[in-house]
């Protein structure tokens, strides 16, 4: 009697071991999801960027390898200018955002303010209003103030971008500022550094991870933005995002894919350039909102 029970138990545990719910199996749906909706689409972008579909005389479609999309991009002066305008607006917005948010983040992380976490929440609050309504409101307000997109497209676009992306730069800077080692700064000034030297040689290097993630959160989204540039400049400034959107609405899949590929390359370069900076994983697109 006891023997059979023992046997039963053994068998059930052995069976259990084979079919047991192992925690790592829970990653299977996640992995499938990523492969299906992230990896395969990106591979298809690369494939579409270097192919061309021609309709033959008998009506059938033929897809072949070609550099047509690349050639049409690199030979067109207007597309080059879109690329440079996007880069320029991206850099300008990033710099303005950094200059505005750096002191703000520094002050917010100060002990006297830190008691008041409400202030940080206040800075993030506008992000909860629908982004398109917010952009429309900014445009209408600027129009009212006489800074309309039809007369000042560049400054209107920059203001709209800065307004939209400022919270995204304050957040990562704030999180690194919280970790600022004040003893180091004190030591530097005790050893004879003047406030500027302390700032450049100690505070900036200490907050570098925050600066890098702030830049990453602003630069690429600005370059690829569609709604803000389109609304605030009233269609006068075309960024990379607008161009991809144009390709999408005209069903130019190959050209659109090639431009998306260029964006991917730029991302790759920035990721590679900043690979040695330890980034704050929570500070990406809306991270830390809650």
């Amino acid at each position: 009697m006891s023997l059979t029970n023992q046997e039963k138990e053994n068998r059930s545990t052995r069976l259990g071991q084979v079919f047991a719910l192992k925690r790592k199996y829970l990653a299977i749906p996640y992995a499938l999801f990523l492969v299906l909706f992230v990896i395969i689409p990106l591979l298809l972008i690369i494939a579409y960027a270097f192919t061309e579909t021609t309709v033959l005389t008998d009506g059938t479609k033929q897809t072949s390898f070609s550099f047509a999309a690349a050639a049409s991009f690199f030979t067109s002066a207007s597309k080059w200018s879109v690329l440079f305008v996007s880069l320029f607006i991206g850099i300008q917005t990033t710099v303005i955002c950094l200059i505005l948010s750096y002191p703000a983040a520094y002050f917010l992380a100060e002990k006297k303010f830190r008691v008041n976490k409400v202030l940080v929440i206040l800075f993030i609050m506008p992000m909860w209003i629908n982004f398109v309504i917010r952009t429309g409101a900014t445009r209408d307000l600027l129009n009212w103030m006489g800074l309309s997109g039809s007369t000042h497209p560049w400054s209107a676009t920059i203001i709209g971008m800065v307004y939209n992306y400022l919270p995204f730069t304050i957040l990562p800077l704030y999180t690194t500022m919280l970790k600022l080692d004040h003893a180091q700064m004190e030591a530097a000034s005790d050893l004879g550094a003047n406030p500027w030297q302390v700032f450049w040689k100690n505070v900036i290097p200490q907050s570098l991870p925050g600066i890098v993630s702030a830049c990453e959160m602003v630069f690429m989204p600005v370059m690829s933005s569609y709604v803000i540039s389109d609304t605030l400049s009233e269609g006068k400034i075309t960024l990379f995002g607008n161009y991809i959107y144009l390709a999408f609405s005209n069903s130019l899949w190959n050209e659109g894919s090639f431009m998306a590929l260029i964006m991917l390359v730029i991302i790759g370069i920035t990721m590679f350039a900043t690979r040695n900076v330890e980034k704050d994983p929570s500070s990406v697109r809306g991270g830390g909102l809650w």
Partner: protein, 323 residues
């Protein structure tokens, strides 16, 4: 009894005392030195400057929102043209069929996408955490891809895939499901990223202990692991909702007929408003909508903050586990 006492005595207190001692040591070691602030924070003038700076920045950031809210109480079509105080726009908001459809669609998509992505992301985080190093590395990298990719690249890559599938199967059409897929790509990685730190914080022995004490793996997950990571799951869910509500690009690319829009493409608040502001000023009713959203969010955040504060306060009193 004795065991319980030992358990409560051993785990939390040493952590707390360790965290507190260095501060005490530092202040005691240099009692004679005048307390010196670091070089950017001396004097009252700088403090006043800091206050002014932060408040001016805040006011500038809230300017469009405030103007919007003030002008939600007048029926003017453009800002700057005050037509007398009234609640008319709020009345119109509840009669405007199009805007109601847009709000309904947005809510449905946000809830469905957030729920699904919370499930996939949470399970994924638990699974990846326990996977072999190579699988972990690969999946972590794949998780980063949609996070660093601009939305427009995500949107284009998805639509290209749908076009590709369409060219194979012979029929290309977008629907609620393609839209949902787009929103899931946007939100799932963020659920993963907000659950992961909670798993790292968790005591890995807890799960084993639950198994040893007779739980099945499923029970152990539900009764031991899940409560531990719940704050991360919750913030992942909220983050998903915000990302989904706010999205324009992915929605505009992947939307198809369905839901409340019937036979026309599913319109969300973002796409509906964008279609109007291309040519016209912001629709008057959307000012009332924005005000309602803002007040709602304000209340929600206030309640959440108070709740967290009360909980933190209670935790301090009871000297419970420290997170």
């Amino acid at each position: 009894m004795v065991e319980q006492e030992q358990a409560t005595a051993s785990s939390p207190t040493p952590v707390a005392s360790q965290a507190e001692t260095p501060d005490v040591v530092v202040t005691k070691r240099i009692p004679s030195r005048p307390k010196k602030q670091h070089p950017f924070w001396e004097g009252k003038g700088k403090r006043v400057f800091a206050h002014c700076y932060i408040w001016v920045l805040l006011i500038l950031m809230y300017l469009p929102v405030l103007v919007l809210m003030i002008y939600s109480f007048t029926t003017a079509t453009t800002l700057g043209d005050w037509k007398g105080f009234s609640f008319d726009l709020y009345g119109q908001l509840f009669q405007d069929k199009e805007i109601q459809i847009a709000v309904g669609n947005t809510a449905i998509i946000a809830l469905v996408a957030a729920t699904l992505s919370t499930i996939i992301g949470t399970l994924g985080a638990i699974g990846v955490y326990e996977s072999r190093p190579w699988a972990k590395k690969t999946l972590e990298f794949a998780t980063q891809v949609p996070v660093v990719n601009p939305e427009i690249v995500i949107a284009l890559s998805l639509i290209v895939m749908f076009v590709f599938i369409g060219s194979i199967s012979g029929s290309f059409h977008l629907s609620f499901w393609t839209l949902l897929a787009g929103h899931l790509v946007l939100t799932v990685p963020f659920v993963y990223l907000s659950v992961k730190p909670k798993l790292i914080q968790m005591d890995p022995a807890l799960y084993e202990a639950a198994l040893d004490l007779g739980c099945t793996p499923r029970q152990a997950l539900r009764k031991v692991v899940f409560p531990e990571i719940l704050p991360g799951v919750f913030s992942g869910f909220l983050l998903s909702i915000t990302l989904s509500l706010d999205d324009f690009i992915v929605t505009a690319f992947t939307t198809g007929p369905g839901l409340l829009s019937g036979n026309s493409n599913i319109a969300t608040v973002s796409t509906y408003v964008e279609g109007i502001i291309k040519k016209h000023p912001l629709p008057a009713t959307s000012r009332a909508l924005a005000t309602l959203i803002f007040v709602g969010v304000l209340l929600f955040v206030a309640v959440l903050t108070i709740y967290n504060n009360v909980k933190a306060h209670q935790g301090k009193k009871r000297k419970g586990r420290q997170y």
